[in-house]
């Protein structure tokens, strides 16, 4: 200001100017303005950089076309999934932009447990639900979150410990052999899942990477009519057939329809519900199902008895018992999501209720669900929440999260449980499930041969659910469900006792011998 006023006063007086002498040129003043303009340009750049790097940073970083997210995810070895303390997964260097790729040490054998982690096709099962742990993104993995955020050092992926017992898993897969089917084994007292087998299985090693070979393998697996990538133990429901009679039996006893399993049931053979002309019959006419006791009816699997029992218990109580066993859960997670097992809640027809109560019509269950049924019986009436994980640790071994035992429900009393156990032991001792007998071990079970297809046109599914106890008073270490859907088998040979029970036996023996 001083300078300017001085100039205004002194300028013209000092020298003779041209006619328009009032105009004076000041390089200083224009220079200063131009300089400020240049600085403003640079300041504008800084403001714009702040916009990009601070305010729009998040949305740009999360843009789907931004490869950095993917690059970061595969920038380090993925954490491992462990079975009995041994990693069943690994990582290998790719040499490409996505630095590390998943490997599986025994891919097909654990695929129903681990799922897959693919650079092209995403992540499934444990690889999916524990992805943030395995990639190191989970904030709990960081020992020093503030410093890690500043230094941006990638946190090594955590490890996931499963409840799977490798010997039981092996017994399940060996039992299934080449047959299509699934096995789920649970430790009844804890809910820990000991085996999840689904056959045919697949080797996920072929689909973990990127490129034409990966795409080809993926296409081949998806085109396979045997659906090797379908996890039959968790994600496929089957009509449970006669194995569902255990639920109907539990309802009959728990809701006081009969005082015990040795009371005659006052049931005709064949049984025709009131609102239909179609009679329910039994597989074998030689069995004395008329007025049979519950124990005998379970032993020889009387459709007539349990159809009528279901109707007598009533739709409301049947639904209540089925749901206490874990049916109709839309969002069951172990923490891997499990498909919903169904027992219809809107049955008004006695005919349909009768069919539903013997595991037909709309009744459908996953193998895991039927293993839960056996486990609730084996655990004296308390159903534990099934779980696939023991704990999650940092790469250095420190535990981040432990998965404890949680009870899911208490469908029936210990007294009722004892009677169901007695009836199921009868099935194995002298009924349809004799091929599951293990010398010196108390085994309770139930066979099932479920109709399949429209008008029973398909080959039926063979079921077996069971539990084992070293002695009558001991805690049961294993409950198991086996389903076989083998279209190659002779239709007459398909029965729970014939195809499924030996597999259940092998699985139970694998647990008991350990």
């Amino acid at each position: 200001m001083n300078r300017r006023t001085a100039r205004n006063q002194g300028g013209p007086a000092q020298r003779p100017g041209p006619p328009r002498g009032a105009v004076r040129l000041s390089l200083s003043r224009t220079g200063r303005r131009a300089g400020l303009f240049c600085l403003a340009l640079i300041l504008l750049l800084l403001a714009n950089a702040t916009r990009l790097q601070v305010f729009q940073g998040k949305s740009l970083n999360e843009n789907a076309a931004n490869q950095r997210t993917v690059i970061a995810r595969y920038s380090q070895p993925r954490g491992n999934i462990l079975v009995a303390g041994e990693a069943v997964t690994g990582s290998k260097k790719t040499g490409g932009t996505l630095a590390y790729q998943r490997t599986y040490t025994d891919g097909a054998f654990y695929a129903p447990v681990t799922g897959f982690s693919s650079q092209t096709y995403g992540n499934t099962l444990i690889e999916g639900v524990e992805d943030r742990i395995l990639t190191g993104q989970d904030s709990r993995l960081s020992t020093n979150p503030v410093w890690d955020a500043i230094s941006r050092a990638p946190v090594p992926g955590g490890n996931v410990f499963t409840t799977i017992n490798p010997r039981v898993q092996r017994a399940a897969f060996q039992g299934l052999g080449g047959k299509r089917g699934a096995v789920a084994a649970i430790e009844p007292a804890t809910g820990r899942i000991l085996a999840l087998a689904s056959a045919p299985s697949y080797d996920p090693n072929g689909i973990t990477g990127t490129g034409p070979a990966t795409v080809a393998d993926w296409t081949r697996l998806n085109a396979d009519s045997t659906q090797p990538m379908l996890n039959r133990a968790l994600r496929q429901t089957y009509p449970p057939g006669s194995t569902f009679k255990v639920v109907t039996l539990a309802a009959a006893l728990q809701y006081g329809l009969y005082s015990g399993i040795d009371v005659p049931t006052n049931s005709p053979d064949p049984y025709t519900p009131k609102d239909t002309d179609h009679a329910i019959t039994n597989e074998s006419a030689s069995d004395a199902c008329t007025n049979a006791t519950l124990a005998y009816a379970l032993q020889v699997s009387c459709n007539t008895v349990f159809g009528k029992v279901g109707v007598d218990v009533g739709a409301q109580n049947m639904v209540r018992m089925a749901e206490a066993f874990g049916f109709n859960q839309s969002l069951q997670t172990i923490p891997v999501a499990v498909a919903r097992s169904n027992f219809d809640t809107d049955l008004t027809s006695q005919a349909l209720l009768a069919l539903s109560s013997i595991g037909q019509y709309d009744t459908a269950a996953t193998p895991l669900e039927m293993a839960e049924v056996a486990a609730a019986v084996a655990n004296n009436g308390t159903l534990m929440q099934p779980r696939l994980l023991d704990k999650v640790t940092r790469s250095d071994g420190a535990t981040v999260q432990s998965f404890g035992n949680r009870s899911f429900s208490r469908p029936f009393s210990a007294g009722v449980a004892a009677q169901i156990q007695q009836a199921m032991v009868g099935v194995v001792d002298s009924g349809t499930g004799t091929s599951a007998q293990i010398p010196g071990v108390v085994v309770g079970g139930k066979t099932g041969t479920a109709q399949n297809g429209v008008g029973n046109s398909g080959v039926p599914y063979a079921w077996f659910i069971s539990y084992a106890k070293p002695s009558a008073t001991a805690v049961s270490p294993v409950a198991v469900a086996v389903v076989i859907e083998d279209s190659d088998a002779n239709r007459a040979d398909v029965s729970g006792g014939g195809l499924a029970a030996p597999i259940a036996k092998a699985v139970m023996q694998a647990v008991l011998s350990g």
Binding site: G11, L27, A34, N63
Partner: protein
């Protein structure tokens, strides 16, 4: 003469200290890249450090001997920027194993420093440039016409390629144009400023005064138009407007300039496919993603900046290589943005701002209009380059495909900017050099040291009376702060 007047601090010690610091920072960056990408210090760290240090030392010694009073910040900043550029080019070389460019850039750095030294040593008095302004401008224009008749390289006809060597005459033309503008405006600014007609609120210049300068500019613009090099056009134009305004103080120039740039840019943006795409990307950087064509280079650049955030990923840990083509030249700032973050970027911008401010300060301290305009022009040239390049890769303005001064891979640009710094060093030296009292001018003291000093100093004193400077030579004018009023008064006096 030192006995008579207290010697002002030359700043050479400060410069030396800052040079050591600059080299140390660059070497640290080199070590950081190695340790982050390979887990070990690069084996040739010592060689890199000694090489850069030697270049810096040579330049410093030249300044010490031939531009003793130069601004002490300019050389260290240039060395630091050049050193960091080398580090990041080396880092990007690691991501592109088949395209190793750092060694070539190192050679260009040596050439750049060599030319810096050459200018500092050989250009005794910057006012020589004023005499050759027309020659310089015409030669440069001729050089720029040549690529128009050569095949286009990367979509623009701006290269002269001889064997493995390629050169962009447009780069060096910027400096030539600044010299020409400064010279012409210093001579004719009175006429340009004082005559003209007023239309509404704008004072427009008369055509005949404007003639030569517009002609030169038009020829330049036409060449650039033919060569499809929008960036150089923008910088030329920006320089033209800024210098005209500074020289004449007429805001009308800004309006004329805006019209001119509109006339030049709009048709190119609409109808030249190469440039049109850049305009579309500027308006919507995610356009190609929506079209299912994947991210454009601009989108990848924005992703890189965003990934850097506040503190950056650390050198060698980003993924700016996803930008692909020209990542080491036009897009190099994105790598800085990602790996040293907003904080690092702010520091870089600050370094450029310091050079610009120092350039303007030199302009203020100088007494003759040519020197003033040249210093301001060169400083503005740097600011405009930084703005056009950085603004382009950060989606502030349309992308123009230019190189970030000192940082980017590319010999022409690097060499040109070293010459720019050399000229500012010489101008600064002239501005701060203590003046001889008038009587001593008549009898120069004997002795070689005093001789060379006297020559440099005698220049302004001889020249300024010719420019009609009544205030010059007043005792006590040695301090820069006093100069303005004296300088101002002279400006309106018509040339004899």
């Amino acid at each position: 003469m030192r006995a008579q007047q207290p010697e002002p601090p030359s700043g050479r010690r400060v410069e030396l200290f800052l040079l050591v610091l600059a080299v140390a920072i660059a070497v640290y960056g080199y070590v950081d890249v190695g340790s982050d990408m390979d887990g070990k210090v690069p084996s040739d760290t010592l060689r890199y450090g000694l090489g850069l240090g030697a270049l810096a030392l040579l330049a410093h010694l030249a300044v010490r001997r031939w531009a003793r009073y130069a601004d002490p910040l300019l050389l260290p900043i240039a060395v630091l920027l050049n050193g960091l550029g080398l580090v990041v080019i080396y880092r990007l070389d690691r991501s592109t194993p088949n395209d190793s460019t750092a060694p070539t850039q190192l050679v260009w750095s040596m050439v750049g420093v060599g030319l810096f030294i050459a200018v500092v040593v050989l250009l005794r008095d910057y006012r020589v440039l004023q005499r050759y302004a027309y020659v310089v401008a015409l030669t440069t224009l001729l050089l720029m016409i040549v690529p128009a008749f050569l095949p286009a390289v990367y979509g623009a006809k701006i290269w002269i390629k001889i064997g493995p060597l390629s050169f962009q005459p447009g780069e060096i033309a910027k400096i030539a144009l600044a010299i020409f503008f400064a010279s012409y405006l210093a001579q004719h600014r009175d006429a340009l400023a004082l005559t003209g007609r007023r239309i509404w609120r704008l004072e427009l210049p008369r055509g005949r005064n404007l003639g030569p300068i517009v002609l030169i500019w038009l020829v330049g613009a036409a060449i650039l138009f033919l060569e499809q090099d929008l960036g150089t056009l923008l910088i030329f134009f920006g320089l033209f407007v800024v210098m005209l305004y500074v020289a004449t103080a007429r805001t009308g120039w800004i309006a004329v300039g805006l019209v001119l740039v509109g006339v030049a840019v709009v048709p190119v943006a609409l109808w030249e496919p190469h440039v049109h795409v850049r305009f579309l990307d500027w308006l919507d950087p995610m356009r190609t993603i929506r079209l299912g064509q994947g991210p454009s280079q601009l989108a990848e650049s924005l992703f890189a900046f965003a990934a850097g955030g506040l503190l950056g990923t650390g050198l060698g840990l980003g993924h700016s290589y996803l930008i692909g083509f020209a990542m080491k030249s036009d897009w190099i700032l994105a790598t800085f943005g990602e790996e040293i973050g907003l904080v690092g970027l702010a520091a870089l911008f600050l370094l450029y701002a310091i050079v610009v401010v120092r350039g303007y300060r030199i302009g203020r301290e100088l007494r003759d209009p040519f020197g003033r305009l040249l210093a301001i022009g060169l400083a503005s040239l740097l600011a405009l380059q930084v703005f056009v390049v950085a603004g382009g890769v950060t989606d502030l303005i349309p992308l123009t495909g230019m190189t970030m001064p000192f940082l980017a891979q590319g010999g022409s640009s690097l060499v040109t900017n070293w010459i720019l710094i050399a000229l500012l060093v010489k101008l600064g030296d002239a501005a701060r050099r203590p003046r001889l009292p008038v009587p001593q001018l008549l009898t120069p003291p004997p002795g070689s040291d005093a001789d060379s000093a006297a020559r440099g100093e005698s220049g302004p004193d001889e020249g300024e009376p010719g420019e009609g400077v009544p205030g010059e030579g007043v005792p006590g004018e040695g301090t820069p702060a006093d100069e303005d009023p004296g300088g101002e008064e002279t400006q309106a006096v018509p040339r004899p």
